[in-house]
Subunit: 378 residues, 2 copies
Amino acid sequence: MLINNPAINSFIPPQRTLMGPGPSDVPQRILDAMQRPTIGHLDPAFQEMMEEIKVLMRYAYQTENPLTFPVSAPGSAGMEMCFVNLVEPGDKVIVCVNGVFGGRMLENVKRCGGVPVVVEDEWGKPVTVTKVEQAFADNPDVKVLAFVHAETSTGAQSDAASLAKLAHQHGAVTIMDCVTSLGGTPVLIDEWGIDAAYSGSQKCLSCTPGLSPVTFSERAIAKVKARKTPVQSWFLDLNLVLGYWQAEGKRTYHHTAPINPLYALHEALVILSEEGLENAWARHRTMHEKLKAGLEGMDMKFVVEESARLPQLNSVWVPEGADDAAARAKLLGEFNLEIGAGLGALAGKVWRIGLMGHSAKQENIDFCLKAIRSVLHK
Amino acid sequence: MLINNPAINSFIPPQRTLMGPGPSDVPQRILDAMQRPTIGHLDPAFQEMMEEIKVLMRYAYQTENPLTFPVSAPGSAGMEMCFVNLVEPGDKVIVCVNGVFGGRMLENVKRCGGVPVVVEDEWGKPVTVTKVEQAFADNPDVKVLAFVHAETSTGAQSDAASLAKLAHQHGAVTIMDCVTSLGGTPVLIDEWGIDAAYSGSQKCLSCTPGLSPVTFSERAIAKVKARKTPVQSWFLDLNLVLGYWQAEGKRTYHHTAPINPLYALHEALVILSEEGLENAWARHRTMHEKLKAGLEGMDMKFVVEESARLPQLNSVWVPEGADDAAARAKLLGEFNLEIGAGLGALAGKVWRIGLMGHSAKQENIDFCLKAIRSVLHK
């Protein structure tokens, strides 16, 4: 006797305008790419596309790193790939925590058996470079520096170039989270000297969620190859993933790649390359200025000081007298508009309005400001 | 000075017929579902769909397990989720190895600090139940039994019910790989008493690759909750994933779910439920008989003895005189037909012809037999 089959119909999602911290609006071109015919993960045509994705990702990351590819899972798995490969049990790791994602890095370090040296900053502030300098001075045996370039939980951007320089002066490799920055503000892997970085497909690349673009420098690979212990994850072991993504001759099967999502990522990167990185950065900046003017016109205050503010993620304090959850529910229910709630220490206190990728356009700003005005009765 | 943007165009994949070991042919309904508008991972509409996916997966797995959901990554990550949560350092684990994927289980046990007791069988044979019985007798302190129900590398099916019964008699929990069986031949989680199982979206469910349906019994959850050490993976830690997939009240953000691929999985499961599991199993069986008649008509020999043969994965010895790689290249190049090569110990020696999900139909069989006849000049 089998359990009965449930009478469930196809799912037809509503059409939303996505102005939260990601996913962002996905252009039709990318959705169209996603539904092209599935082919095999070892098909020669697919392998050519993999090579193109690597070239396009090197452009997005501004790097010559050969080992630049998408992890077959969301950004959190990209983060974990960096840590499980680069942190060996006993390694001392400086972890900068100024929001949720720095905290998640710390959790990763612990689970890899690393010895964390935590540099804390207030949520909403960038990482203080002098504090990291002091941490290096106090701990000359640090092997890895980990920090978040663009804190998705607060909208603060840190000075990646200065942080990476410190790491290099002290012989440490750097792990950088650029989930929210890639494609929205400059991410210059080679110029800054970043050794390992991970991002997400669903932020400023405007692709569907589920993939994590990563890049590793030669120094990073050397550290992985010199490990005395095996990488604790089989799925995320760079030595194995390399055989599929980085094979010179014949590729070796490691896992079945997510074929159609990779079509979508390819298309998202083609779109970015067509627009040009500098134009994309300028667009995010311009749109931010317009949104900012509108929000400040309603007396809303930004969480992050101007110098460290990410144009693509606008955190503002929930206006006095407004009911956070009720207002967001109204935006979603009446306007089909998603904006982000606060996370962790900022839950209930802030709204995070995303202007990421395809969402960073005049039409979205006008619509968003109108909707917020209506909900707040401004 | 930025690195120049590469001049790369949109990728248009060829239209293949997929008769390898997965991905299988994806029905247009599933591709259509995949390109529906992206919404947020905390959107109430999305959360309703998540609940429906869980109900549909319970039907596919024939289980009442509340904790039944898709991992946001391919089957290898589903495998790793089972091992990192259920195997604690020092735990003795019987691992049955009769092909590539049993070997991968063994690798997982080692990386979790488990103490493996390996039960080996020849590739192409099912797991020998009496050997497992002996392994339990020799090792009364075994905590976990791990085996592959349907070995994707060989096409052999093992007696899951008897193996699970042994485990229960000896107080061990079971981890079962049913990547290739789910939806193709009976997988009866509750009736057999399986504690943890993982599968893949791209086999008999005919969905696009990239997701791993998993299910955990109350006994499995109790073992996870009783752990003395934290789970080594943050991304795959069931305690955390539960907060998103299994929350009674408010869901907690863990990672950004792969929205559009989950639309596709939902649709794949709706299609399976519409057909009915018993009908799907019967169809795989009928189509296998037809393919078998055609292949044997060309004097091709099956690798696996009839009693343990999976209908959905037909492993045959590469015919004498045929050039394995050249023949497969011709099938792909001239007929747009993908069949699978041998893996591991069987590389170069066998072909794996898949009849999985939507690929298990008369039209594919006729086409495949015609193409093989042409290539082999039969």
